[in-house]
Structure formats: C-alpha cells, structure tokens
C-alpha cells in the first residue's frame, strides 16, 4: 500500500506538490509512482530559471525499466532543482516525499494550486489504476 500524505496536492500524472507558503511549490513523484517505476538510476532535473507551462514535460526520471517524463504541475519558473539526484537517483525510491524532491517552482498564479487533486482524489485515482 503506497503512502499518500494528506497535506500535499497531486497531479493525474503522479507528481506531488507541496505548498511552501511563499508563492513557491516543491515537486516530486509519488510513492505509488516510484514503486511502479522500480529502481531509479538516472534523473535529469530542469534548468533553474526555465519558464514552464502547466503539464509541460520538464524533467526525466529513468528507472531500470524505462524513461518517464515529469511534468510541471502548474505554470511558473523553476527556481531550484535537486542536484543531489545526479549522484543518488535512488533517493526517489528511498524517500519520495523528502530527499527525493525534484524541483521547486515559483507559481505564476498561486491561486491555481486549488485546481490540483487533494489527497483523497489522488488516492481514488491510484485505487482506480491498480
């Protein structure tokens, strides 16, 4: 049974989104996603300063199985990326909601956070898929 923290927001493409309360959000992939991908061996993080649209592919996570695009949950500017993943990509397997974070995004419209899935809605999506 994968973990779905109640205080996060989620996307249909299995990213989690944490509101940092300062107009920025931190983004990673969910426990369910890392489990489905298997051992992660390579992560390509986005360049800091890059402008992204909602649902635009902006990072890549490669597991032993395959490469998967990671999408920007909302429009904004990339303000930080987790450089540690270059050497320890498996941090995403070990701690998907902590050390395995992928990037931080300054939202164009902080109000848009409410359009993302809450934990109950994401849990329902996971149940439906499995």
């Amino acid at each position: 049974m994968s973990e779905v923290p109640a205080d996060l927001r989620y996307t249909k493409s299995h990213e989690w989104v944490k509101d940092n309360g300062d107009g920025t959000v931190t983004v990673g992939i969910t426990d369910h996603a890392q489990e489905a991908l298997g051992d992660i061996v390579f992560v390509e993080t986005p360049e800091v300063g890059r402008q992204v649209d909602a649902e635009e592919p902006c990072a890549v996570v490669e597991s032993v199985k395959a490469a998967s695009d990671i999408y920007a949950p909302l429009a904004g500017e990339i303000v930080d990326a987790n450089q540690v993943l270059a050497d320890t990509p498996d941090a995403i397997n070990q701690d998907p909601y902590g050390d395995g974070w992928i990037f931080t995004l300054r939202l164009k419209d902080p109000g848009a956070l409410g359009t993302l899935l809450d934990a109950d809605a994401y849990q329902a999506l996971v149940d439906e898929e499995s």
Partner: protein, 363 residues
C-alpha cells in the same frame, strides 16, 4: 495476463510484480531489481524460467536433421550431456530463434527455445521434419529453474535428487547430467557460474522453496535482463531477429562453416553476406555522458546516423549505462547516441562488460 508457470503461486506469495512476457505472466522483480542483480553477482539467485520450452528430438535421422536445421553443428557434440548454443536460421539467413541443444545419446537431443517463439519454432521444425521420421516432442510437462551466482552450485546441489548430486557437481561448463526426470545443465544467461535445472512441473515448487531457504535470492526478468546485458549475451527479438542474422549480431562464432559440404538452412545467404564489405558490425557501448541507453536510440558519428542501439540499460555492477548496437562497419573508438534529441558521448567497446563478478573493461 497470460499463461502461468507452475511457480506462479510462489511468485504471488513473494509479492512479485507480475508482467506479461512472451505470452506468460512472469515476475519482473520481487522488490528491487538492482538488489536481485547484485545477489547473483555476489552470492546466488534463482529464476523461474519455466516459460522457456524444452523440446525433445529423437529418431534415426535426428542428428542429420539438426545438422540441416541449425547454423552451429551438432556433430561437435560427442559426449553425452554436452551442450551447444546455436541460431536456427531461415532461408534468408535471418534468425528464427536462438537455442541451446543438448546431446543425450545417439540420435537423442534436447533443445530449449524461447517462450515467445516456441509455437513458431515448433511449426518451423515440424514443417522441415516431414518425411524424416524425426520425433519432435514439446515438453509442456517440465518446469525450468535457473540458479546462478558464485555460490549457486554448492547451494543447489543438496536439493537435487540423490542420483543427480554427484554428477551435477562434476559437470564441466556447458555440460548437463540427468537422472530421475531431472536434467541439470551447467549453463546460464548471467555471466556467472550456476545451473539451469529442467524438472517435472510437480517438483518445481519444492525445489524453488528449497533454494530460497538455502539463501538464494528470488530474481525476476528485470535482473535477468541486466545480468545478460552485462555478460554481453543477446536477447532474441531485440539484438537479432528474422531480418538481422548472426553475422550482424555478434554471433558469427556460433556459425559452423566447416565442413563446407554441410548444407544448413540459411548457409548460402550467410555466405553472400560474409563476403559483403557493407556488412554491419555489432558492438558494445559504454555511455560516458549522462543518461541511459535504450533500444532503438540512434548511434551518431559527426551528426550522421550510423546505426541503432539494440539493447540498452543501466549496469548495476559498473554503475554506468551500457548497450549493444548494430552499426556501419568501421566505427572508431567513440560515437554519440541520440537520447531525447541530444547527442550523448559513448565509448565503443567489445562485450562482455562483466564476467564472474568482475568488470571486463576500464571505466
């Protein structure tokens, strides 16, 4: 999702992630593919390979039939139990399947073919055996378990039937022994020592549990793929197929050209290709830039596509990405591979990458 092997309930009990493969529902991993890989390189792992199909051939013409059917020559098999790796070619020199053939005695052979190609292979063999009197028996009553790694043989031997134990431990590499309907080969698909055990389906769950109780790590198809890739071993359907034959897939060593009067299927096509200067090479790649090699990525030199990655992935032993590729003849020591539209640097190397737990190249 597909046919189930006699070990399917064991996989479910062990919490395996099950995936479809070659018409079968098979375990991909039991938690961590990378840990399973390391277990085989360092100690021992066991694999359910019951989806692969043993086929027994016999009859007065069995030897001459196989000498026509296979690109390698079963006349090399003189001692009972000796095994031979071979391609089975079509008339154009493409590969119908790759297989292992074991010599069991005069005009008695056992072949093991791939899961996804078993029906096609049987139809191909049967069509070519018409009028020969060769009996071709598909052994759906048998299961197959591979136990691989430096500790695999010592760990597995006490679990074999009593009459099999001593002969199994005495086996030289690429030989098999049989007793009490069990058939034990010192063969494998990992680059490590070990056994491949063909046994009655009803005996498989007990043997499987015994291996795990003795310390073998259950391993899925994921680890099987990274282990064979490190060992530089081809995967049918990916590295060679009905259009890409042995000479362009690094399998030239499996074609027996001598004696020259042995007219095996595909010989004339291979002979023409052998003398063709345009014939493509099959090479290993070690990615030096960042990323992961995957099948079908383009190999590029000076901005020009010169070939394609046939198998690629992450090597847990080298902690680098490695691959196999079919390329134009005469590629130098380096090239680039196009990964998501960007060229990434790679070194051209000679497989294998890893054997018996040790890297075969300097990183």
């Amino acid at each position: 999702m597909g046919k189930r092997t006699p070990l399917f309930p064991e996989h479910e009990r062990l919490g395996a992630r099950i995936v479809p493969f070659g018409g079968w529902a098979m375990p991909l991993h039991y938690g961590s593919q990378v840990e399973e890989h390391h277990a085989v390189r360092r100690r021992a792992g066991c694999f359910d390979v019951s989806h692969m199909r043993p086929v027994d051939l016999s009859g007065p013409d069995a030897r001459s039939f196989l000498r026509r059917l296979l690109a390698n020559d079963v006349a090399k098999l003189k001692e009972a139990g000796k095994a031979l790796y071979s391609c089975m070619l079509n008339g154009e020199g493409g590969v119908v399947d790759d297989l292992i053939v074991y010599y069991r005695g005069p005009n008695r052979y056992r072949i093991v073919v791939n899961a996804g190609t078993a029906d096609k292979d049987l139809a191909w063999m049967e069509a070519r055996s018409l009028g020969t009197g060769v009996s071709i028996e598909r052994r759906d009553d048998l299961a197959m378990i591979a136990v691989q790694g430096p500790e695999a043989r010592a760990l597995a031997a006490p679990l074999l039937p009593p009459d099999c134990r001593a002969p199994a431990l005495d086996l030289k590499p690429f030989f098999a022994a049989e007793a009490e309907r069990w058939f034990v080969g010192r063969t494998g698909y990992t680059g490590e020592d070990g056994f491949e055990v063909i046994l009655p389906a009803e005996d498989a769950p007990g043997f499987w549990r015994g291996l795990i109780a003795a310390g073998a790590q259950p391993c899925g198809l994921g680890a099987r793929d990274t282990l064979r890739l490190e060992a530089g071993m081809n995967l049918y359907g990916q590295d060679m197929d009905e259009t890409a034959g042995p000479l362009e897939s690094g399998l030239g060593w499996t074609v027996a050209w001598e004696p020259t009067d042995r007219d095996f299927i595909g010989r004339s096509a291979l002979t023409a290709l052998r003398d063709n200067p345009e014939r493509r090479d099959f090479v290993g790649l070690l990615l030096t830039g960042r990323g992961v090699l995957r099948s079908h990525q383009a190999v590029v030199v000076d901005g020009r596509a010169v070939g394609e990655v046939t198998s690629g992935g992450f090597s847990p032993t080298l902690e680098r990405s490695i691959g196999l590729a079919r390329v134009e003849h005469g590629l130098g020591e380096s090239c680039e591979v196009e990964i998501r539209g960007k060229p990434v640097a790679a070194r051209v190397v000679r497989p294998p990458f890893v054997r018996h737990g040790q890297a075969c190249l300097d990183l």
